[in-house]
Structure formats: C-alpha cells, structure tokens
Symmetry: C2
Subunit: 217 residues, 2 copies
C-alpha cells in the first residue's frame, strides 16, 4: 500500500489525494504541516531532499516527489492515463503548463493570502505579478475549454487533476472567475466525477514567521 | 519530418534541439524571435495559444507545446527515455522540478540579464529571489549528483536534457558554480554525449521594450 506524505491544505498534495480517491486506491496518509516546519526535519529531508510535499513512498525506502510525477505514476495503466503517445504528450503539456504558468502564480497567491497570516503584506510586491500571470493562465485554459470538456484525450485524465488542484481555490485568493465560464463548467465536471473528494480544510491562518518555506508549496 | 518553431537563444528551445541532435532525428527549424514579438502574431497564436516557443509540429496541424512534453514525445521508444514505470516517474519528477524550481529562476535571470538590455534594472526587485531560489535548486541537483552520473535510470535521459537547458547558462547570469562540483562534472558528461550540439548564439542584448513577453520563456 502507498504511504503518502501530504498536507491537507496544500493544492499539490490534494492533487494526489484526489487521484487516489478517483482510482479507489488505498493508501496511508501522513500529515506533514510545512507551516510548522515538519518538511524541514532531518527525518523528512532524508526522504525528500527538496523538503516538499506531497511525497509518495512506493516501497520500502523508494520515494517519489513532485505532485505531477506522482500523478503520472499512480495513474499508469488506469483510465486516468491517456493511452496514445500523442494523448500522453498532450496531457504532459498541460501538466507542465500547470507547474510553470498556474501553480507559481495562483498557488503562490493561495498560499500567502489564504494560509499565512500577514502574507498579503509580506508579498505585496509580488501580488500584482501573480494576479496578472494567473489570469493569463486562466485565459489559456478558458480558450482551450471553450470547445472541449477536458484538457487532453477527450476524457478526464491526470492533466485535469493537476490543473484542478489550484484552479479550484483561485476564488479564495482574489481571482474572480466570472469571466471564465468554460473554466467554471470544467470545475463542475471534475467535481461530478465518481469518487471525487474535496480538499477540506479549516480556513485558519497560520503565522508565516519561522516556517522557513519558499514562496510556493 | 518534424517542424520545430524555436528561438536560438531560448534555453527551453535548445532542450528540444539538443534532444533531436542526440537522437539524430531530422527536423525543419523555424526561427521565432520572441524578443521581436514573433510569438505574438495571429499566425503563431493560432498554432500555440500560449504564445511560447518551442512548439513542435508533429503532423499537418498537430502541435505540441511545452519543452519537456516535447522532449517526452520525441524521446518515446529511444534510449533517451527510461523504460521502467518507476524510472519514467523519476525522470518526470526531475522534469517537473526543472519547470518550477530551476527554469523560473535561472531561466528568468538568464533571460533578463543575458538577453534583454536594461533587464537587470527592470527586474532588480526579483533578482534576489531568482538568485536565492536558483541556488537552492542547484544545491538539490548537487546533492543528487554526488552519488550519481545522471538524474534518472542510471543513464542519460530526457531529464538530463531538461535540466541542462538552463543550468549550462547559469554562469552567464551571475550564478557561480564553483561550489557545485558534481553539477559541473555532470554538465561535462552531457556535453560529451555523442551528437551533442551547443546552443550557439551571439551575445547581443536586445531592448526589452514592446516585446510584450512574460518574465520567462
């Protein structure tokens, strides 16, 4: 059985929990609160030198990091993985897009505005960039979804799960999705998938002092 | 035959050219100078709504974007692609790491310091972050390479090519690799691969005005 090191309120961690839920795959969850430095202990760093969650233990001492790589691994051979070479490449295209165009902006805004007390003031200088680039990413998604139900292979795949992780919390960190109807319809389609689970966390702000964490998680 | 839309001085474009060279795969190259707005024309945007290079035309009207997704596609079934499910996942892990930990920092610094006139002053407020996070990424790579020749599967794979793209220009944009001997040795190993080609560009700064480009490419 998989062992998943994750944080309840992390969008990247949620992606993996969502995929495992949709696949009805059993796993043991271990909560790592990065806001309390739990991803920076010698013990955790020995498992993942990047000091990040999620982290999947696949077998005794074999670990896999990076949410989207974990998605790819757990979905292998299941209906969440595209079959053809071209469909797989297109799914990966959107997963890489997620990691450089969406997560560093909406993920960062979510983290500092929704999770960390004083985060808005601490990162005021970055907020404008996050908003502008986050909206640009949402526009690319909107254009793609205008004529499609899902991102790749004409079906729900790991690409949708990757993009859902932070898009579904965008409204919690200043983004207004009113002018993105195709994105909103897609969010509802993902939520309607059999086995879907919510991220579920209590909106309680944590002090950002001494967490020693980078700008995103 | 593939048709590759790329920019000579772009690290992301270079990754694909390097992979195709190592694979000895023929392709037609079309130069798109994003610094002159050539990725923002209606023609190009119809091919790639993200307005980014590299872009691979696989067949009539079928396009693939995102450098690392293109690497995955062109390397499929070749020695540059890992074979086992776990090795593939580990290669992807490093490719996702590249897109969120390395490229947004070293890639951004390279772009604004090495390609755009006045870029250093324009992005002075971001430079400190880029340096700090870029060095953190290099340290993760250094630790991994201390006991390994390549990033995944014990051999040269697309993960190495992805990471090579911007690591090999880090010295051009303020990063000092002196204290990263394992990274330097790995750079030399990649450069020694049969078929290796250089990025090759004339270090001529271009004005950043009116390019309409985002912070990274």
């Amino acid at each position: 059985m998989y062992k998943l090191y994750s944080m309840q309120r992390s969008g990247n961690s949620y992606k993996v929990r969502l995929a495992l839920a949709l696949l009805n795959a059993p796993y043991k969850a271990i909560e790592i609160d990065i806001l309390r430095g739990e991803s920076r202990t010698p013990d955790f760093l020995a498992r993942n030198p990047s000091g990040q969650v999620p982290l999947l233990e696949i077998g005794e001492g074999r670990y896999l990091a990076e949410s989207n790589a974990i998605l790819w691994y757990v979905a292998g051979g299941t209906p969440l993985a595209p079959e053809s070479r071209m469909d797989r490449a297109e799914a990966l295209q959107w997963m890489f897009f997620e990691q450089h165009a969406l997560e560093p902006n909406i993920g960062a805004a979510y983290f500092w505005l929704s999770l960390v007390r004083g985060g808005r003031e601490l990162h005021a200088y970055s907020l404008e960039d996050w908003m502008e680039r986050g909206y640009a990413a949402l526009q690319v998604m909107e254009n793609h979804l205008r004529t499609r139900d899902f991102f790749a292979a004409g079906q729900l795949t790991v690409a949708d799960i990757a993009l859902f992780g932070y898009t579904h919390v965008a409204h919690l960190c200043d983004y207004d999705l009113t002018s993105f109807p195709a994105v909103r319809a897609w969010l509802s389609r993902v939520e309607a998938a059999p086995g879907f689970v919510n991220m579920e966390w209590k909106p309680e702000l944590v002090s950002g002092e001494d967490t020693g964490i980078a700008a995103t998680m």
